[in-house]
Symmetry: C2
Subunit: 361 residues, 2 copies
């Protein structure tokens, strides 16, 4: 267990983390764009790959960021709201999957290996038992309370989870990681994400509530009612991003919010996965608006709230493959695109170097 | 120069190549689907990645195809129709880019390196001079005639180019390649592809003619008129896929058509790049309909004919990133997705293996 800081100390740390997020380096973006325009291809013909390379240049503060090492953080936690029967899977699966991530058998484990990313499995509040020495245990608790009956967390708990994420980002940056992907796991956490999205976007729960890992239509109707109840029960608490996160979020969501803020402050590229990671990023962007410019949306899932949250963040997803697994799997699939974009910037010949006639188009 | 075969010999070889394309192995597909259903994730939650893995299993004839080696073939040729001013770039750029591919400075060179694919640069009929020992020279000629004034090739020339592609596929299969991506280069070749698409789909040239590497609106109007003229001048010749290819195609397009047919016959996965490679695949599918089941559409470009051709082939592109470079660059970006799909099939743990509760969803 980490030493407990006072509420004031924690708020000061969060304020410092938020203040450390700087605007993007537009000179670096322009340098990358000029470099890309000189490469042996029609101007702009690599489409979004070029925009991605230029964004990464602006995030990193270098016109030629070179090859970046990537990490995928899978933050897992349990959710009291699972008691409402809003998931197709029982709560015990959270701990089982944490062991599976660490053991190398989960989708994100496989995909991280294939794309050469470091996989960091984080226990942000898993209730069940598991045995896996490589899992980073944040000591935040054993899961949230049932958000359909009251606040999921106290604000101090949410702050602690955010700051744990801040520390993780600082650690990854210190190890030379340049790209961090946000993965999550937690039976019940699409319900938390839907509640957060409904509150933060001020939309009806139906617009942002879907089948998650596999509810049928009746299950989705029940889930919408649970989200509606959560909003109603917690209404007096929803007066700022932190209190909203505490009331409706989860430990892994809070951890990822803090991770996104501090990763942006350290000039890391932050890659979102599905709906839940996007909800975490939305909380981060409400706490620190400049964070959104550091984000890359890996993919669009069929979960109905996903596009609404990405729209609010101003993000256009790279992939649309019907992925709805979470755990960072979609983000892992986008990492080779980021790698490719940077390779284009770094390794392609210019018209001059290759002796190719430039039509200037 | 290869020894010239008689027309009859060439037709017999093409007939044999077409006959060698077998239906997919549906038992292998079912085995892969069953395997995927047992993996530690909600059923179907990896979306198109799962469908892709199952398709590759069916193509390869194995429920677990394992990791596949990939090659990207960039076939280049010149086009007489370039004299009509339908490209933003001068004809000399074809030869210059061939040297650039071989020299490692082009986009596809960079992307092939990053994804570990073999890059095979093929001169299918480049008129200009270049110096690059690694380029495979097929000895088919120095480019096509102007298709706006008569047939681009004689039918015997088109047959020779197809059969050169057949031989390339057989060679790659013999080297243990499991996935082949179709790339192309040739100043003027979107015009040839538009003419082919208009003829084979029986649509107005406007529906399948776009800016290519960067024509302005007036240029596109001129290009549509050139395609219209090509269809009119060659109308009497357009009575089967081979004669249509000869009249309106190009040497690189014909080579890629043959490559697609023989690759399918050798149970290779055939990855399309942009509009021109799709037009080549459409010719292949008209000659050998079973080919289309072996195809994977890497991406959708903004070129208007691309989606129409993919629709006709029954293909849904994996990526939509605004890519309009050709040369296999988009296909190279999809290769990691195929690799990821196969890794999921090969390496993920099942519910039983990982001790994860299966909700059966």
């Amino acid at each position: 267990m980490p030493e407990l800081a006072s509420r004031e100390e924690m708020e000061a740390r969060l304020t410092a983390a938020v203040a450390a997020v700087e605007p993007l380096d537009e000179a670096a973006r322009a340098a990358a764009e000029a470099e890309l325009a000189a490469k042996t291809k029609p101007r702009g013909s690599l489409g979004r790959l070029e925009a991605l390379a230029a964004q990464v240049a602006a995030v990193r503060g270098s016109g030629r960021p070179g090859r970046l090492r990537a990490a995928i953080v899978v933050a897992a936690a349990d959710h009291g709201v699972a008691a409402e029967g809003i998931s197709a899977y029982p709560r015990e699966v959270t701990a089982q999957m944490v062991a599976n991530y660490a053991g190398g058998g989960a989708a994100v484990s496989v995909l991280a290996r294939r794309c050469g990313a470091r996989l960091l499995v984080v226990d942000a509040g898993v209730g069940g038992e598991y045995s896996a020495a490589s899992v980073r245990r944040l000591g935040l608790g054993a899961g949230t309370a049932n958000l359909a009956r009251g606040p999921a967390m106290g604000e101090a708990e949410a702050l602690r989870a955010i700051l744990a994420g801040v520390e993780l980002a600082q650690e990854l940056a210190g190890e030379g990681i340049g790209v961090v992907a946000l993965g999550e796991m937690g039976i019940g956490n699409t319900t938390a994400a839907s509640a957060l999205a409904a509150a933060l976007l001020d939309v009806d729960p139906r617009a942002v509530t879907g089948p998650g890992t596999g509810l049928d239509a009746a299950g989705v109707v029940r889930k919408v009612e649970v989200v509606r109840r959560a909003l109603s029960v917690n209404r007096p608490r929803l007066d700022d991003p932190l209190s909203t996160l505490a009331a409706l979020g989860g430990f892994e969501i809070a951890t990822l919010s803090g991770l996104a803020i501090a990763a942006a402050a350290k000039r890391l590229v932050v890659v979102l996965d599905g709906f839940i990671s996007a909800a975490a990023a939305l909380v981060a962007a409400r706490l620190a608006p400049a964070v959104s410019r550091h984000l890359v949306a890996a993919h669009l899932s069929p979960e109905p709230g996903h596009r609404l949250v990405l729209d609010e963040l101003g993000l256009d997803p790279l992939l649309e493959l019907g992925l709805r697994l979470g755990e960072g799997s979609g983000a892992a699939l986008a990492l080779p695109l980021i790698d490719a974009a940077l390779a284009i910037l770094d390794e392609m010949a210019t018209f001059g170097e290759a002796g190719v006639t430039d039509a200037g188009r």
